[in-house]
């Protein structure tokens, strides 16, 4: 893992000291709220419905055991014993007090963490594949480039006051698990004709009130020019992005209104100026950063087959967990383990301090001290020996984290919604809980197969509802919560935005509506292996519309 150098340590220390003084001056009355608000937001401190909320950055979703233990400590000491892992691979604390924030930031700095770049109109915390550095299908570990992007974008003076926030995601695998086409900039590892690895660059993707799929602006940018190329995009956006209308200020609107070719020409013009300059990334620097992410000392082992059918007979719950929560590793004898933060009936993404400690222990013992946070609000042990799986499972059962539902219908994304969020119009968590309870039976979940439900409590779409195979958007209508259902969204490389098929439903009616969609799918799928999203693409809207609203 990356370790802070003296520059990183100094800027985090300085920022913590600065903000501590700003908090002091706010409390003493020297600073007004109008003066303090932008300062606190630059340090990840929001005010929500019930209290402050502190959003802590987990750069490219990578954590050590020591860092996870610190997150547990913060939950226990300054909050209410839990934290909420978010769709941006961050963690949020819902109940901190203003006086405690300097201590929290100092504690975070002691483990090389901070809350910078989790708010404001800057380049936000960079996100990536949760199986980065482990996945069998990866052509490059994206984390070294993720770290270089972090260093380039952190407190970048030119891009601290952009027209709007700016999100970058990258994946080193052709199978996109980081939703890169729904980011302001998405990077996907690519090979050129000579077999060299570089990056395909997508621009202008996003969710929110105007969902857009990112457009390919450059099919291949070599490592050495990546920063120059990204800086060129940022400069075009910073110059031409709309500042007159908050709702039209994201780069997706600029690309949409001006057209990709116009933007591309502007970027190329800028790139011609900066290419080969101070942002050129020498191979030695890439190697230096890459060394921090060197593979751990894996054992040399034969391929280890897991007899899931046998395990299921012996222990159905363990069998389901093996079947759903393992991801192929690039080293024989190892797997990546998804730790589901979606126990039946729980709030998606929440983990208690005790659970965080338990996960840190597991990482230390069984995963070379490494952890990941997924944008689907789960945790990952990236490097686990197949022979250690029984022990890991037993420990997860003890911690209440052994739900074998990764990728199934109860593995939902849900934003905090109106239970916490000042922007929300409707609650998300209770909807997720009810759907989870309705489809709790493992046999039923297995029958349904891969199905992603994503729930947002407002149009800002933190719950990624647009890219749910089934998406649920909470709105307020005449003082009550109403839920629009979309079908056909996809956050992967086969990116698609879900379609609204008709009027919304009251909260109580949502689980039954989901059940009707599921039944329509099961009745019409060609084989039990045809996933929901494939069946939807083959069948179109009609059977699903009929399932929701009956025949006209």
């Amino acid at each position: 893992m990356y370790r802070y150098d003296e520059f990183d340590a100094a800027f985090v220390r300085e920022r913590t000291a600065q903000f501590s003084d700003q908090v002091r001056r706010r409390i003493s009355g020297e600073l007004s709220e109008d003066q303090f608000r932008p300062l606190r937001l630059m340090n990840g401190l929001y005010l929500q419905l019930h209290a402050y909320m502190l959003r802590v950055a987990v750069p490219y979703g990578t954590l050590s055991s020591r860092q996870m233990r610190m997150l547990a400590h913060l939950a226990r000491t300054y909050d209410r014993g839990y934290g909420h892992f978010t769709t941006r691979q961050n963690i949020q604390y819902n109940w901190p007090k203003l006086r405690d924030i300097p201590s929290i930031l100092a504690d975070l700095a002691s483990v090389e963490m901070h809350a910078i770049q989790t708010s404001g109109n800057c380049i936000r915390n960079v996100t990536t594949d949760q199986f980065a550095g482990a996945a069998a299908d990866e052509i490059i570990d994206p984390r070294p480039v993720g770290e270089i992007l972090r260093q380039w974008s952190s407190l970048h003076p030119e891009f601290t006051f952009l027209p709007r926030k700016f999100k970058i995601a990258l994946t080193g695998s052709p199978n996109d698990r980081a939703a890169i086409k729904f980011h302001d900039i998405g990077l996907m590892a690519a090979l050129n004709g000579a077999g060299e690895i570089g990056w395909s660059v997508y621009v202008g993707g996003g969710l929110g009130r105007t969902p857009m799929i990112g457009k390919l602006i450059n099919a291949y940018v070599p490592h050495e020019h990546l920063l120059s190329y990204l800086e060129s995009i940022m400069r075009v956006y910073n110059r031409y992005g709309r500042r007159d209308n908050k709702y039209k200020a994201r780069i997706k609107i600029l690309v949409h209104e001006e057209g990709l070719e116009t933007i591309k020409a502007q970027v190329e013009e800028e790139f011609a100026q900066v290419r080969g300059g101070r942002l050129t990334l020498p191979q030695e620097e890439l190697d230096r950063i890459g060394a921090y992410f060197a593979p751990p000392p894996f054992k040399s082992l034969p391929v280890a087959a897991i007899d899931i059918a046998r395990e299921k007979i012996l222990d159905a719950a363990y069998g389901s967990w093996l079947e759903n929560n393992l991801h192929p590793h690039r080293v024989p004898g190892y797997v990546s383990v998804t730790i589901s933060l979606k126990p039946i009936g729980a709030a998606p993404g929440d983990a208690t301090d005790a659970q965080m400690e338990a996960v840190a222990d597991l990482a230390e013992r069984y995963s070379f001290d490494e952890l990941r946070v997924s944008h689907e609000q789960n945790l990952v042990l990236p490097h686990v020996l197949v022979s250690d799986l029984p022990a890991v499972y037993v420990a997860l059962v003890e911690a209440g984290l052994a739900e074998g539902n990764a990728g199934l219908i109860s593995d939902m994304i849900a934003c905090p919604g109106l239970d916490y969020c000042a922007l929300a119009n409707a609650r998300s968590i209770p909807i997720a809980q009810e759907i989870s309870r309705r489809f709790a039976a493992p046999e039923r979940q297995k029958e349904i197969g891969a199905l992603k439900i994503k729930i947002s409590g407002c149009i800002n779409a933190c719950g990624h509802h647009h890219v749910g195979h089934i998406g649920i958007l909470g709105v307020e209508k005449k003082g009550t919560e109403l839920y629009q259902i979309t079908v056909g969204g996809d956050g992967t490389e086969a990116a698609a935005i879900g379609k609204i098929l008709g009027p919304g439903f009251e909260a109580e009616a949502v689980p039954a509506a989901i059940e009707r969609l599921v039944e329509a799918y099961i009745a019409r799928r060609q084989t039990p292996d045809e996933p929901f999203i494939s069946a939807y693409r083959r069948l179109g809207d009609a059977p699903f519309k009929e399932a929701l609203y009956g025949t006209a």
């Binding site: 409390i27 019930h50 209290a51 203003l98 239970d419 209770p430």
Partner: protein, 101 residues
């Protein structure tokens, strides 16, 4: 009819202006401003702003149901009750976080 609500600076807790000019946790203690009391309401808002200690200050419409104050917006009902799923107790004021106007 309206009440005034906001979040207290130190704790972030949800608070309401009561009839004594104090910012308190209890919705049922909130002063209710009738339509003809707009001037008094606006004066209370101005005095509150001067303290610099109440954030997200809002005028919220309420109704009385069997003498119980009920906010019209669901958002406000959740603010008054705390998160629902799972249910958590609301944030409380710290000892030094009481504000009066």
């Amino acid at each position: 009819m309206d009440i005034l609500t906001g979040n207290e600076l130190l704790s972030g807790a949800t608070v309401y202006l009561d009839t004594e000019g104090r910012w308190v946790e209890d919705l049922q203690a909130a002063r209710i401003f009738l339509p003809e009391e707009a001037e008094a309401r606006d004066a209370a808002i101005a005095a509150t702003k001067k303290t610099g200690r109440i954030l997200s200050l809002e005028v919220e419409a309420v109704k009385l149901v069997d003498r119980v104050v009920v906010p019209l917006r669901i958002r406000e009902r959740i603010r008054a009750a705390g998160p629902t799923a799972p249910a958590f107790e609301r944030q409380h004021l710290d000892e030094d976080s009481h504000v009066s106007i």
